[in-house]
């Protein structure tokens, strides 16, 4: 059987729009991983730059104009599907910064080393927390930025604090 996101919940990079390498190297930019026709549109109404559009029906999928996105992060915190991520390959030193929506408590702290997971829930590397953005306007969905080796820039999708992981019973 074909192993598709519909069977597993795991998207592949070919399933959605990925910002081109030049754009990623120029600084922060989003990736939207929302590929079905669902009745939803806040991403398109919240972006101050008009970088995200949903044409016609509310069930159409969002389309990003990467050249308009300035990486402010507003849409990441406001997407009810937690489906928008940030990537920045402008850092140099072979690392990239990734931003993800995060709704677990307690938050990791700046400088903390965390385990980084990919779309399938597998640990792929360690990451270092760079910033935790949680202003009131984000309404409890924080955006957490962390640094990973550059080869993981497009795959880092979740983090767990090492302390939290130790608490998970192993059977």
């Amino acid at each position: 059987m074909k192993h598709d996101y519909i069977n597993t919940g795991i998207l592949r990079l070919t399933d959605f729009q990925v910002p081109p390498p030049e754009r990623r190297r120029a600084g922060r930019v989003i990736m939207i991983e929302c590929v079905q026709n669902i009745p939803c549109n806040p991403c398109s109404t919240i972006c101050p730059q008009g970088a995200i559009t949903i044409e016609g029906d509310i069930t159409n999928i969002p389309v990003v104009d990467f050249s308009k996105c300035n990486g402010c992060g507003l849409c990441v915190a406001n997407c009810p599907g937690l489906a928008i991520f940030m990537v920045d390959e402008s850092i140099g030193d072979n690392s990239a910064e990734v931003g993800i929506p995060y709704e677990f408590s307690p938050f990791p702290e700046k400088g903390e080393i965390v385990s980084v997971y990919d779309r399938s829930g597998k640990i792929i590397c360690d990451g270092e927390i760079v910033r935790v953005r949680n202003p009131k306007s984000y309404n409890k969905t924080a955006v957490i930025y962390f640094r990973v080796p550059i080869q993981f820039s497009l795959d880092a999708r979740f983090i767990k604090r090492k302390a939290d992981k130790a608490k998970t019973p192993i059977h």
Binding site: Y5, G9, P39, N41, P42, E103, Y117
Partner: protein, 475 residues
């Protein structure tokens, strides 16, 4: 155990109260229901079954399944998932039918006379559908009264900590819990009367209701009635499905997000629709381990975005897998899951034993349409809408003139559509009282186009098919 910190829920100071359970002193927090307080104290077995005396725990936590019946202050068969605890309450587990109510408990509900309450529009259910109906009807000048058997207002919204989809007009990106509060505020501003702990138990022609408010019988007289009673969670048949520790996913969500009880340590979720996947994610937020989501069909029914956000946290969604059995003595201690072939048969050798203490079922919802049937509405079984529903027209009116429906009871959908249907039923009910006007026609048209827009796309297909069957039957 109680939750101590949570990324979304807020913790307020709650008064500590005491009651007894089978003679044992239990500490609870004001605002707990009896069943929630017992769960917080680690007690899951609430009663024993009628014939075989098997242990019974709660299943739905919203008053729909009767698996939580206990004796409270001498009164048998009390739905303990709905009744808030009070200081000094005497709660007893019930074996079988229970005893005849004690003389003191009978005083609580015996009445010499049954009072009548009159209103223009009586609304049954204070979920998103019922509250929206009330708001729109009251705005057009009608006198409305809302009744709900829960003691909290908001229906399923009160446990939904996630942000909702939709557009601005349906409160998109607002959390369900906050939408409930917003609707409540609008009702308060319009001075809408909302009666809680108030079960509607019968409909009589034309537009009279039998209603039990805090155990006392009342008579309600209205000019139109809107039924917005929501839905109940489906059961699944497998050996061991009656053990305490097998819950509806919504019940677990209620325990953790409304009563802040840590409901489990390790969970197996059955069903990968939106509810199964969302509740799994919320279990992780409450610090509970979810070992896997099993889904019998080869496809995940939930929105991809919901599935993706769960899978990346390390919880696998196993499609073409199902639960074979649950086992345990007093309560769930484990389960066996296995892979299915394309004819739904277990593939031999794929059985796996999982050590868990809780199984959550999210295998669909069923419209809570009993009252409509009893009222004599023309009913139809439409699988696409979730089961038995009343035949309605474009105005949400049933075959009984002046009796309307809105929300999940008219077909399982979402809160966004429940709100729009509620608005439509509210406006149409006012129209039935005062006749039409250009304002009413315009409002109805706007709401109907809003509903049509929500139902475009592949996820609206079931409702589109269901509604088509309905329209054909109605004509």
């Amino acid at each position: 155990m109680r939750l101590r910190n949570h990324p979304i829920l807020e913790f307020k100071e709650q008064r500590v109260i005491h009651f007894t359970f089978d003679g044992q002193d239990i500490t609870a927090l004001e605002g707990d229901t009896i069943a929630a307080a017992l769960h917080a104290a680690g007690i899951r077995t609430l009663s024993h079954s009628l014939r075989r005396h098997h242990p019974r725990g709660l299943f739905c936590a919203i008053g729909k399944c009767s698996s939580c019946l206990m004796e409270v202050d001498g009164c048998p068969n009390v739905k303990t998932c709905l009744v808030p605890v009070k200081d000094g309450m005497v709660v007893k587990s019930q074996d079988g039918w229970g005893r005849f109510p004690s003389a003191t408990s009978r005083k609580d509900y015996q009445r010499k006379e049954i009072p009548t309450r009159e209103t223009d529009i009586a609304i049954v259910g204070a979920g998103p559908a019922g509250l929206s109906a009330a708001i729109y009807a009251a705005r057009l000048g009608a006198r409305v009264m809302v009744m709900d058997e829960n003691y909290l207002v908001g229906g399923q919204l009160i446990k939904q900590t996630h942000m909702f989809f939709g557009s601005k007009d349906h409160y998109a990106k607002t959390r369900g819990i906050d939408i409930g509060t917003l609707l409540r505020q609008q009702c308060d501003e319009l001075a809408i009367e909302i009666l809680t702990e108030c079960s509607v138990i019968g409909y009589y022609h034309p537009h009279e209701l039998a209603m039990v408010h805090k155990r006392k019988l009342n008579h309600v007289k209205a000019k139109a009635v809107i039924i917005a009673t929501g839905a109940s969670e489906n059961m699944l048949t497998f050996p061991g499905n009656d053990l305490p520790g097998v819950y509806g996913a919504g019940a677990i969500q209620t325990l953790m997000n409304v009563y802040k009880v840590k409901p489990a340590e390790r969970v197996l979720m059955v069903g990968a629709g939106n509810i199964g996947v969302i509740v799994s994610y919320q279990l992780l937020q409450a610090g509970v381990d979810v070992v896997a989501v099993v889904e019998a069909t080869p496809k995940i029914g939930a929105y991809q975005v919901h599935a993706s956000k769960l899978v990346r946290c390390g919880v696998p969604i196993l499609t073409s897998h199902s639960i074979v059995k649950a086992y345990g003595n007093e309560s769930v201690e484990g389960a066996v899951v296995a892979q299915l072939d394309n004819k739904w048969n277990i593939i031999p050798g794929t059985e796996r034993d999982v050590a868990i203490d809780t199984i959550c079922l999210s295998v669909g919802l069923n419209p809570a349409s009993e009252i409509l049937d009893q009222a004599g509405c023309r009913m139809l079984y439409i699988p696409e809408l979730g089961g038995q529903v009343a035949v309605i027209d474009r105005n949400m009116e049933t075959s009984v003139s002046g009796l309307y429906v809105a929300g999940d009871v008219s077909g399982i959908e979402e809160a966004s559509s429940a709100m729009l249907e509620g608005r439509l039923a509210g406006v149409a009910a006012v129209q039935s009282l005062h006749g039409s006007s250009p304002q009413i026609e315009k409002l109805k048209h706007e709401i109907q186009s809003g509903l049509d827009a929500l139902r475009t796309g592949p996820f609206g297909e079931k409702t589109r098919i269901g509604n088509k069957i309905m329209t054909e039957a109605a004509s």
